[in-house]
């Protein structure tokens, strides 16, 4: 740090990264105070894609907010659907049929894999490798086809309803999902040989971009960032919701705290999600996909409700306050990447610019979710 201290008196310059920059994956602006190639301070500037989702929630009925949840984190939209459905079901005291719960888990996990695959491609692209992106997109396309055949859309899903699902799946989806599990399992060794074991990748990521567990606690970072720092925390295990407690899966945890650890957590999570889907497909019960006693016009009883789900990027929490009318009184969204980005300023201090961008990539930022 002595170099850093000395540089305070020397000439520094401000480098503007974004709001239109391929490495920020959206309209994120970072004001970098640089000393040559080294970062003295990185200040994220938000607000370029703020759409007042929370305020929108207060101005429309409970059901009408559902499409909005698919537009927060557009890469893992189903987890957000799930979170909102959970909180309203909790408020209304609706029990979801078992088949619907299983299908929720299957579709959410498929969506998580799609999100991680896209991150994998884009992250390697940030580091200068183009080819893995094409393979990742090839696999992701298969998931989107599967999800399109049940939900009707490919990205901004609006599939869950209070008390169940929009519609049931057919046999094609079941066989398609099984075929996909087989396919992705055969592709994972290729990914590891092509990217994980690649010497350039290792040199760029190993022992670079350290984020300690203490820093995660300070800023409230969750998800793969937290698990890459050696903390075993996943809402699916720690506070099981839906039917997650019925499946046998592991939470990947790495103690290295570097960018490589976060990379490995996500790659392992893909495999664990495949395990969950496989078990859910085996156990999938017959029955309805929609609860019987769901009122047509939702009016949640007075009170304060909270639900949290494990989205692809971390803990997504949603808190609603109801005054008993047909619109929420207050709707607060706690999005994971907002917290994950908050630690960037501290974590990137004194880093080389190229390494700091690798660190930013390893945080897996989705800007519309930060600026909701």
């Amino acid at each position: 740090m002595s170099d850093l201290a000395r540089s305070q008196n020397q000439e520094t310059f401000v480098l503007n990264l974004g709001p239109q920059h391929p490495a920020t994956h959206g309209v994120l602006r970072v004001k970098l105070t640089m000393d040559g190639e080294y970062i003295l301070r990185a200040e994220p500037v938000l607000g370029y894609i703020h759409r007042m989702h929370e305020k929108m929630g207060e101005n429309r009925t409970w059901a009408q907010f559902m499409p909005n949840t698919g537009r927060l984190d557009y890469l893992g939209a189903l987890s957000y659907n799930h979170g909102y459905a959970l909180v309203v079901e909790r408020a209304m005291g609706i029990t979801v049929p078992e088949r619907a719960e299983y299908l929720r888990v299957i579709t959410v996990e498929l969506n998580r894999i799609a999100s991680h695959l896209l991150w994998f491609g884009a992250f390697v692209l940030d580091l200068g490798g183009f080819t893995p992106l094409l393979y990742a997109f090839d696999d992701r396309e298969k998931i989107l086809d599967l999800l399109e055949s049940v939900t009707g859309s490919r990205l901004t899903f609006c599939y869950f309803r209070f008390g169940g699902l929009y519609n049931d799946v057919d046999d094609d989806f079941i066989t398609g999902s099984r075929a996909f599990i087989k396919r992705l399992r055969s592709r994972m060794p290729d990914y590891h040989n092509l990217v994980t074991n690649n010497i350039i990748m290792i040199k760029r990521l190993k022992d670079v971009g350290l984020i300690s567990a203490e820093m995660c606690r300070k800023y409230g970072a969750t998800g793969p960032v937290l698990r890459g720092s050696g903390v075993d925390f996943d809402i699916r295990k720690n506070e099981p919701y839906s039917v997650y407690s019925e499946f046998d899966f592991d939470i990947p945890v790495y103690h290295e705290c570097d960018s490589m650890a976060r990379y490995m957590v996500r790659m392992d999570e893909i495999e664990q999600s495949l395990r969950i889907i496989e078990q859910a497909l085996d156990k999938l019960p017959e029955g309805p996909v929609m609860a019987e006693k769901v009122p047509k016009i939702i009016k949640a009883p007075k009170g304060d409700y909270y639900a949290a789900v494990e989205a692809a990027r971390g803990t997504f929490g949603i808190r609603v306050v109801s005054d008993g009318t047909n619109t929420p009184y207050r709707l607060k969204l706690r999005s994971p990447t907002y917290s994950n980005l908050s630690l960037y300023e501290e974590a990137s201090q004194g880093m080389l610019l190229a390494d700091a961008l690798a660190l930013m990539g390893s945080l897996d930022l989705v800007i519309p979710e930060i600026d909701r």
């Binding site: 429309r60 499409p67 939900t151 009707g152 609006c158 929009y166 040989n193 092509l194 010497i199």
Partner: protein, 147 residues
């Protein structure tokens, strides 16, 4: 020093393995589609913009102008009007305008319809020169389709 050469060797090997994978995929069949020349068939549940369903017998829209779709829409993009016609039970649809610029394809309108009057189209090749090109007159579309 030996560590340096060891790493040099293992590093070069890892690059060769990666290259081997890309070469393997190079000779595999193409997975992409030459889009304007070929296009995909949409799945039955694909949610395009909505369209009116005609009555099987009369060919007129099934819609009875109850306005449930209008109420269900989160973005207020549906506006419709109807009138009373002698000899017909209920109202007859005169105008059904969908402002597709604000539609988010959530499907709340189709779900709320109890008269089997609207459905999703399978259209996804949408391009237009102006904003007005996306204000769809669905009744007119249905009539054009009939001819």
């Amino acid at each position: 020093m030996s560590g340096y050469f060891k790493e040099l060797f293992s590093g070069t090997k890892s690059l060769a393995v990666g290259l081997g994978i890309t070469f393997r995929y190079m000779v595999k069949p193409v997975v992409t589609l030459q889009y304007p020349h070929e296009s995909l068939q949409m799945t039955p549940r694909f949610r395009g913009h909505i369209e009116l369903i005609p009555n099987e017998e009369t060919g007129e829209p099934n819609c009875v102008v109850c306005g449930m779709c209008q109420k269900a829409c989160p973005s207020n993009c549906i506006s419709l009007a109807g009138e009373k016609v002698d000899g017909v039970k209920g109202k007859v649809l005169t105008k059904y305008i969908l402002n597709f610029t604000t539609c988010s394809l959530c499907g709340m309108c189709v779900e709320s319809c109890k008269f089997n009057a609207i459905t999703f189209s399978k259209e996804y090749n949408l391009a237009g020169p102006s904003r007005e090109a996306y204000v769809f007159d669905l009744k007119k579309r249905l009539e054009d389709k009939k001819q």
